[in-house]
């Protein structure tokens, strides 16, 4: 099987994100990058599928800057066989990213049997790339996936919906499956795995190689700002029981008319 996994590199969850000087993106200089946590589930699922299907290869794909290749190295240290990096600025929109991923799959020369990704990236939270990619490739896709069973080219996919219920789909592979927390427990990259990852092939492509240009851009990002600081909370004090009804009335009034939450 040819298994592809799309991963994104995102700022570490503990990063204090700051807009850059012209507000066109976030300041990326001092950021520690990690693999998008939802993509770790996708890599793990790919490795599980590989283990169950002899002669399988796992190719991990990423679109982004080359400065730090943490996400791809982690995926290969976990056990992915090879990686393709499409070099690009980190501020592509979902459409460009999906188109670049499609191009990278085509350039690999392999026909995909399964494409996995995380359900969303924790930085931009757009939740679009897997579905766009599936559309571009003409493949079925299921997202927010928490259960995966394979029987030949039939996949039984469990998808989480509002209220904690599950939808069960039967999908014929190839398909694009976007994973959610709960589908598996991602393995650690072992130390020998980290050492072996150095010797695994990493192909680098440009946006031109995958026929993506600025003309493909659907969303232009500008004016990145931090959210306004939360105003200080208000404190209400009732010094004795006699004052309590009046204070309660005041709080209820403010919640209704000012905060508009009740």
């Amino acid at each position: 099987m040819n298994i592809f996994v799309c991963v994104k590199q995102v700022p570490d969850t503990e990063t204090k994100v700051q807009p850059n000087s012209d507000g066109s993106f976030i300041e990326t200089n001092a950021i520690k990058w990690i693999m998008n946590p939802y993509d770790e589930f996708a890599v793990e699922q790919a490795l599980l599928v590989k283990a169950a299907n002899s002669d399988s290869t796992v190719t991990v794909l990423r679109v982004g800057s080359v400065k730090d290749t943490e996400a791809l190295r982690t995926a290969m240290a976990m056990g992915a066989d090879e990686a393709i990096l499409v070099e690009a600025e980190d501020n592509l929109d979902s459409y460009m990213t999906a188109k670049a991923l499609k191009g990278a799959i085509e350039k690999s020369g392999k026909t995909p049997d399964l494409i996995l990704s995380g359900k969303q990236a924790i930085d931009s939270d757009a939740l679009q790339v897997p579905q766009l990619l599936a559309q571009m490739l003409g493949l079925p896709s299921v997202s927010v996936v928490v259960g995966f069973e394979q029987n030949g080219d039939k996949l039984q996919i469990k998808r989480e919906v509002e209220g904690g219920s599950l939808e069960v789909y039967e999908v014929t592979s190839p398909a694009v499956i976007a994973c959610n927390k709960g589908i598996n427990t991602p393995r650690y990259a072992s130390l020998p795995g980290i050492m072996k990852a150095k010797k695994k092939p990493l192909t680098q492509l440009s946006l031109g190689d995958v026929s993506v240009s600025e003309e493909d851009r659907r969303v232009k990002y500008s004016d990145y700002k931090l959210p306004p600081e939360k105003p200080a909370g208000k404190k209400f004090e009732a010094m004795d029981e006699a004052q309590a009804p009046g204070v309660v009335k005041e709080v209820v009034g403010l919640l209704r008319n000012e905060a508009k939450v009740i």
Binding site: Y188, A189, S190, G193, I194
Partner: protein
Amino acid sequence: MFELSEEQKEFKEMAMKFSRNEIIPVAQKLDEEGKFPQDIFKKAWELGLVNTSIPAEYGGAGFSNLDAVTICEALAYGCMGINTSIMANDLALLPIVIAGSHEQKEKFLKPFTEQFKIASFCLTEPNNGSDAAGIKTTFKDGGDHWIVNGEKMWITNAGYADLYVVYGTIDPNLKHKGISCLVVEKGAEGLEIGKKEDKMGHRASDTRSLRFNNVKVPKENMLQNPGEGWSIAMKTLDHSRPLVASSGVGGAQRALDCVVQYANERVQFGKTIGQHQALQMMIADMVMKIECSRLLVQKAAWLADNNQRNTDIASCAKAFATDSCMEITTNAVQIYGGYGYSKEYPVEKLMRDAKLLQIYEGTSQIQRLVIAREALRN
């Protein structure tokens, strides 16, 4: 050098992730119950975090000493006691790595890379700690085997070990020239394993006494020749002291991280305690000593990696890093105040655990003797 390689940074990151996710959440409970961390130990082995000294040709990963101390610091950050169990495997296997023949390495080291196995380093005796050359355990020539008699004390992993690397003497009158080193396998007849010690710290590690009653060990299990054990032990310690020192760095770093978090939260006299200069002096001392300790550890490991004599620097690293760890963890309790003395908070355990680092594998005082002897010789 002044920067770890990209690969070493990844090792450190991975080991820290393991510490944070697997060790820290359970360390306090294992400490309280004095429970051996078998599951964590095995999981660490599966991920290549154990037996870092086994060379690649015998199935190991082929780590450098600098790799090993980097990994060790991260594991000790999680729990110095659990790290002791893990580190003890290396301490026990190092004599085989250093002095074993090709056949001995094939026979004894390789299985440790194929299966999860545990080993014990057996040097100390009830009446011989720092005076290691005075050990009383005897190896008597029995023809095609050695007959071992004696008692060993404070042996880490003793209750779970598959392999014991045992020091004894072929003749106590020969002093250090009689000392020899034998590999004894689990289940040897006449090998009695004592009860688990109830310790102040490192409570998750398994520490016991051992008694050898006419234990027959095949002749081919002796490392090098009879009487060459002393130099094997000394070379082993040159390699293992940087590891103990790096445990001190890990423990101290953990204490500092706890202190920084607390100092930014706790408010007294209308400001966070971190804004009070008295506390800043203490924190600055912690940072300085951790930085110095880590550099000493890295130098000691680097010297070993470059086949240069590191006896003095390894002892400097061991004494400085573990004494600093004791001071830093003690001050962490001081900064936490009443909370620090409570088992509800993490720092009292760090203080209890730090103490042992100043004692095992050569006390801080013995390290100073080594350092002074090396200095005076030049």
